[in-house]
């Protein structure tokens, strides 16, 4: 694991530098302020690391430009000019105390906002559908499938195809789609990786979907944005995009070293507590370079069984988990 993490950080620093070199004008200012290049994690969609965040960033600057140039600037200048030109002391300025209506000005007052809203509506109608988080991203390579479950106060990521799971680490191959199904085993939460794209709620007894993609290997801040109690602010995770080879190595590593995903593990995860607290319970001997917790032997039906059990407010069926195995077996 040390190997893959190191290669990731090297790649990420490289990516960041080259991007700063080619980015110009207003985005440059935003980059310096928002990129998080000085840390190891990408924080903001204004330094986008995937197609969805790129679209959102472009959309953001377009809307900002339209609204500031067409609405804010004229109002700011106009207000200052009018208030000063027609101040009480300006006795030479025109004063028409009964001037209450002037049709062209009225048409202007209604016309400008109507025009802008029509334009923005068309934009919103098209782009909302196009960037709907439920819509799978088109790609020549198959998507990586991850099931995300919100707990108090950590995220559990289950890889049904690989049979592994992790708390605190969402690893996936860069350059290909990442398809997620989300639910919550506790209160309502909101799953968010700003540098990659949209957030979506995770709710108990229900499944939501999210499709994201990273352009290149990198490390991105992941979080819960919906207040959920004492440890809410520590419910962060690392979303790490890797090369396919690194990802395969990572999966092998987890399979080899992970804790069995059994009832003992799940009970510990379900207890209220942060990732760090969970680690002291489940993996006190895990290596210090990585603060996450890895599991092996996650069953493909676990996610669905969990959703149903939460929905019906009933215990999880025993078939959802692998039978408990004693350590070292």
């Amino acid at each position: 694991m040390p190997k893959s993490i190191m290669s990731v950080s090297v790649l990420q620093m490289h990516g960041c530098g080259s991007q700063q070199a080619v980015t110009l004008s207003v985005q440059c200012v935003a980059l310096v302020l928002l990129s998080g290049c000085n840390s190891t994690e990408h924080l903001s969609f204004l330094n986008p690391q995937g197609p969805i965040a790129t679209a959102q960033s472009e959309h953001f600057w377009l809307v900002v430009a339209i609204l500031f140039i067409l609405i804010a600037l004229p109002v700011f200048i106009g207000t200052v000019w009018i208030a000063w030109r027609y101040r009480y002391g300006a006795t030479k300025s025109k004063y028409v105390p009964r001037w209450k209506i002037f049709k062209p000005l009225e048409y202007f007052s209604w016309g400008i906002p109507i025009t802008i809203v029509i334009f923005l509506s068309i934009l919103v109608w098209e782009d909302t559908e196009r960037f709907d988080p439920y819509r799978p991203l088109t790609s020549s390579t198959p998507a990586t499938h991850v099931q995300v479950i919100g707990y108090d106060w950590k995220w559990l990521f289950v890889y049904p195809e690989q049979g592994i799971a992790s708390v605190g680490m969402l690893a996936f191959p860069a350059g290909q789609p990442l398809t997620m199904e989300l639910t919550s085993a506790t209160v309502m939460q909101s799953f968010f990786i700003p540098a990659l794209g949209s957030q979506i709620y995770a709710m108990g007894g229900m499944v939501t979907q999210l499709n994201l993609q990273a352009d290149r290997p990198g490390r991105f801040l992941g979080e819960n944005t919906m207040y959920s109690g004492d440890g809410f602010h520590q419910q962060k995770f690392a979303a790490v995009a890797m090369t396919q080879a690194d990802f395969d190595a990572w999966v092998q590593q987890v399979r080899a070293t992970g804790i069995p995903f059994d009832a003992t593990a799940l009970n510990a995860i379900a207890m209220q507590g942060t990732k760090a607290q969970l680690r002291t319970v489940l993996a006190p001997a895990a290596p210090a370079f990585d603060s996450n917790i890895y599991f092996t032997g996650a069953k493909a039906n676990f996610f669905t069984d969990l959703v149903m059990s939460v929905m019906d407010d009933k215990p999880l069926p025993s078939t959802a988990l692998a039978p408990a195995i004693t350590k070292g077996q």
Binding site: S39, A90, F102, F108, F131, V187, M188, F232, H233
Partner: protein, 703 residues
Amino acid sequence: MSWSTTLNHPLGLLDADSFPFLAMLGSDDSDIFINGLLGSFAAALVVISVMVVVALLTRYRAWRTLWFDWLTSADHKKIGIMYVVLALVMLVRAIAEAVLMRAQGAVGLDGGFLSSDHFAQLFSTHGTIMIFFMAMPFLTGLINYVVPLQIGARDVAFPILNSISLWLTVAGAALVMTSLVVGVFSTGGWFGYPPYTGTLYNPGVGVDYWIWSLTLASLGSTLTGINIAVTIYKKRAPGMKLYYMPLFTWTALCTAIMMIFAMPPLTVVTLQLALDRYLDFHFFTNGLGGNQMNFLNMFWLFGHPEVYILILPAFGVYSEIFSTFSGKVLFGYKSLVWATMSIAFLSFLVWLHHFFTMGQSGHINAVFGIASMLIGIPTGVKIYDWMWTMLRGRVRFSVPMIYSLAFIFLFVIGGITGIMLANPILDYQVHNTVFLVAHFHNMAVPGVLFGMLAGYTFWFPKAFGFRLDERWGRISAYCWIFGWMGAFFPLYILGLMGLPRRSVAYEQASYVPLEIVAFVGALLVAAALMALVIQLWVSIKHREENRVFVGDPWDGRSLEWATSAPPPEYNFPVVPSINDRDAFTAAKEFGVGYQEPDTYVNIEIPQNSAMGPVFGGTSFLLAFGLVWQIWWLVILTGLVTIGTLVVRGFQRDTLKIIPAETVCRAHRHWIQAARSAQPIKRSQEHTAANKGRAALETVEVST
């Protein structure tokens, strides 16, 4: 809970541990100690303030006056003033909480001094207070005071109901304050989403405090809405068509209608949550088909109209101020009326934009996104029409106008960020971050609160007979404006940097500089509040030289300025007859501003009634009993509350008569004062020469 347990625990869940102060002393954890110390300090402030007020009232033998002249009063003007007093008291607490939260933010890198739980109580009480016990009472107070005067009425349609609404709101506010001393408050924020607010995750009394204080406040507001709407429909002076009503009255009407339709969903949803919590229903928790999403829909069915309930009266105030302080008729009156009504209507069609991220399809989101952006149209029209009102006017930069101009600038920025949040593609990025926090504070502070403060400055001389100090008013206004900018512009950027709202601490060092700027801004806001208090003190001290008994200190345009300051209990000796918009300006221009009627008649006005305070008191105890599950208290106060209604039903003698001679004497005294007062030009309006009589200056100048 069975009868035997009820008898064994006459105080319900209440015990020594319910008092944070005692709990703190019993703990040896330093974290609990620091937070307990802060909590106890705040609780002590509440207790000491109450004791000081009680002592002062006793010292100056003011209890009789307080009870007979104020608390039991059915006079819309006194009820309005009491609403505003409540709002200002609650504002002090909520601002203190805000400063504490921003201080925590400034040192919140990997820690800080507040515990998570304490921080969560702070943002929950801050939001709950600011919405329900600061902004709502403030605007209700202004409406109560001004609307009957503007439409030439003697009182509201249902004066005792008005008093009951006030006392229900006071009871709710008192419940929130009580939570500071006894027990804890909710940590679920001002909108309290389940299942977090269910008993499984929040078994304590905190959420119950939140539920019952909101229930009381929402009932009060529903009744207020009915009262204001009926007053405006039925009590207008003869000749006052709807299109002759001042714009503030129009916004009050729209707000009242929205209250009638929007508050009941809140009452219902809080009661449903109470059923979930007390009787294990499953409206919003999993199992037996319960669904948490229903709460969001119900809550925002109230919650979105609510933000326009808050902003519309502020729009009304700005309309009055732009017109008055530009010495000019309001431009595009009908546009402004229709824009107001459009906003009121559209506000019911956009609630889903509070949860674009809940997983519904793109097209549903797009429909609600576009509906939300549509509100930008009438709002934009309003901004333009206020600009055109200043155009070709004579703009005076007095305190209300400073607020109004700052409002235009900042509100446009807030409107732009609002359009961004209404856009689902961007909302997916900035939802639940401090960008959202910055946006709604942009609407709530420069939008609502600046309007309320402008209205307070504008109508204060009408209510109390003397002007507020201009200099301290300006200091306060500039501190509010720049303090707000300092506190919230950084939050926009922090939101774009991915900082979730309601985070007690964070791990990114890059957040620190902006958090510090925000804290400095918050300190400036605290200074603004301080300046407001000093302004009031200075103004009271110099009240004699600032008297404006004649009642028209700003060359006002609508009817509230056509009577003395403060107005007599019956408002107008003779109900005026209206045949134009800006009725008082028209009268002044025709030289018929201060006329004596041919005859005086006896005037009937409602008698005082103890109904309101008694009803409020028992409602408070009822809610307190429900929070702590003291069932005998619930039953007892429930019966008394219903009993007061029944007793009131048997009361036949509810009016008192003010004889014509008294009216005549008071009116002649005022007319005499008006005729002998020197009409002053606007350039002198902040000097002692201003006795409330305006010189005619509305003479056209063309160049």
